[in-house]
């Protein structure tokens, strides 16, 4: 990371994008204290999460505010049953038994995986494992969810389901989302902000629609959704007033065209 200055507000849905190795994961690890406490190396500057200086507070405290979901759920799950996995961190922090039960129930419910409660985590599909990983974090009642390419090993259907759940965590439960992900076509319509990182620096930061309208982001390794490419080309060939804003999903685009047709 180089000269990173950043402020993220409560309730934002932030997508981190950029080529592999650009610093997305490093940035995410700064928010739950894995950096500077767990990883070697030197951190200059200061990171504050929910008012806590990450240098002064250990990861087990910070992770109650900002929970991380990694790329490979197998690295995150280890208990014998789904329920035990979701309860693990709370048990470790000596929460009272009743409260653990209540929070586990609630987390399983939010993720829609109550029926998996007694299953072994070894029996689950990749998508189910990622949902359990998220549930175990939700049980901590974090304000922020950090996700590091959570869908990369999932098939498209499971990926879409997981992303839909993440979107509803933001919209219904007001959890701040910071997600590094290559499948932008599924995320951008719902993201309030995209931060593009290149070589450790933040090179672009703003509303996804505006960023994609104004800048060529492909050189930064950002995959522009095909629909946006169609729209950009259409704007060049047709009168701009026909497409007053840039749709980010097929549905938004089809809506605009339907309106012309009705006119």
């Amino acid at each position: 990371m180089r000269e990173v200055n950043l402020e993220i507000n409560e309730g934002e849905f932030v997508v981190l994008a950029g080529r592999s190795g650009c610093g997305k994961s490093t940035l995410l690890r700064c928010f739950n204290g894995l950096i500077p406490h767990f990883y070697d190396g030197e951190m200059i500057g200061k990171v504050e999460v929910c008012g806590l200086d990450t240098r002064q507070h250990p990861p087990y405290i910070l992770s109650q505010y900002a929970g991380m979901v990694f790329q490979n759920p197998d690295n995150q799950l280890f208990a014998l049953t789904v329920e035990a996995d979701v309860a693990f961190a709370l048990e470790n922090l000596s929460f009272p038994r009743d409260e653990i039960k209540e929070r586990v129930d609630q987390a399983l419910k939010i993720m829609g995986i109550e029926e998996l409660r007694d299953k072994s985590t070894l029996e689950l599909s990749g998508g189910q494992k990622q949902k359990v990983a998220i549930a175990s974090i939700l049980a901590m009642h974090p304000k922020i969810l950090l996700l590091d390419e959570p869908t990369s090993s999932l098939d498209p259907f499971s990926a879409k389901q997981l992303i839909d759940t993440i979107i509803s965590l933001n919209q219904k439960h007001r959890i701040t989302i910071l997600i590094a992900e290559h499948r932008l076509e599924m995320l951008l319509p719902y993201a309030s902000r995209i931060i593009i990182i290149d070589n450790g620096r933040i090179v672009l930061d703003g509303n996804p629609r505006e960023i994609l309208e104004k800048y060529d982001v492909i050189p930064y390794g950002v995959s522009v959704p095909r629909i946006v490419k169609v729209v950009m080309h259409l704007k060049k060939t047709l009168n701009n007033s026909l497409i007053p804003w840039t749709p980010l999903s097929v549905e938004e685009f089809v809506d605009i065209i339907r309106r012309w047709e009705e006119k």
Binding site: R19, E149, E185, G221, R226, V230, R258, W260
Partner: protein, 276 residues
Amino acid sequence: MIIFENVEYVYPNGFKALNRINLEVNSGEVVALMGENGAGKTTLLKHLNGLLKPTSGRVLIDGVDTRHSTVASLSRKVGIVFQNAEDMFFSPTIQEEIAFALNNFHFPGDVIRKRVDWALKFMELEEYREKSPFLLSGGEKKRLALAIILAWSPDIVALDEPTVGQDILQKEKMIQIIRQANQQGKTIIISSHDVEFIAELKPRIILMSKGRIVRDGPSEEVLTDISILQECRLLPPQIVSLTSKLDFLGLKPKLARPEEVANEIARRVRHLVNYS
């Protein structure tokens, strides 16, 4: 040529991963195996070099029945790049990693040096040749795994989920590499559920679900058949999903470049606007 004849494969725990697979792949073809996690794609790939032998039926690689051959001898013909590239690495340096198989296949020393240099250059890894393979980034590890295989130049190159964790620039590079290898006459078999990547590459597609082949045809046909894709828990490429929803403009689901689709929409819209 690759032939699967009535192949079934049952794992020791009783799970039937392949169910009556009949398949022919000609030399020089580019084929993608697509389907959800657990459809049987990787199990099928592992039959190509004899890592797995059919429980019933047979697999012929250029006429050789894999049941009567060893992985070592089949590997001379078939190279598999696994999803987790790191599983393939164990040498202290990248150049030794590439040279390992060549040594094992008893290539002469000067040929080994030339092949290693060529592979490092082709995969843009020259600057790291003395480094440990484990120090590479995810994308570079994938390229190294491919370099190892291409160095001994097997006729058939199989890639298991080559785009997982890769950014768009690395995916474009992967497409170039696959096309180049194919132009050199190699048969390429890819397992993938990355529909946008496959839509760009446009190979012959074999759609798998629950151990069976449910569809086999050109990309233009398979990727525009939205209902069969959904049955296999795949989503259509965004362009196909767009064109399928613009039926009211007279568009049909199709696989095309964004510019072509934009031009077609523009034509139809001008038509509409002129009328109003």
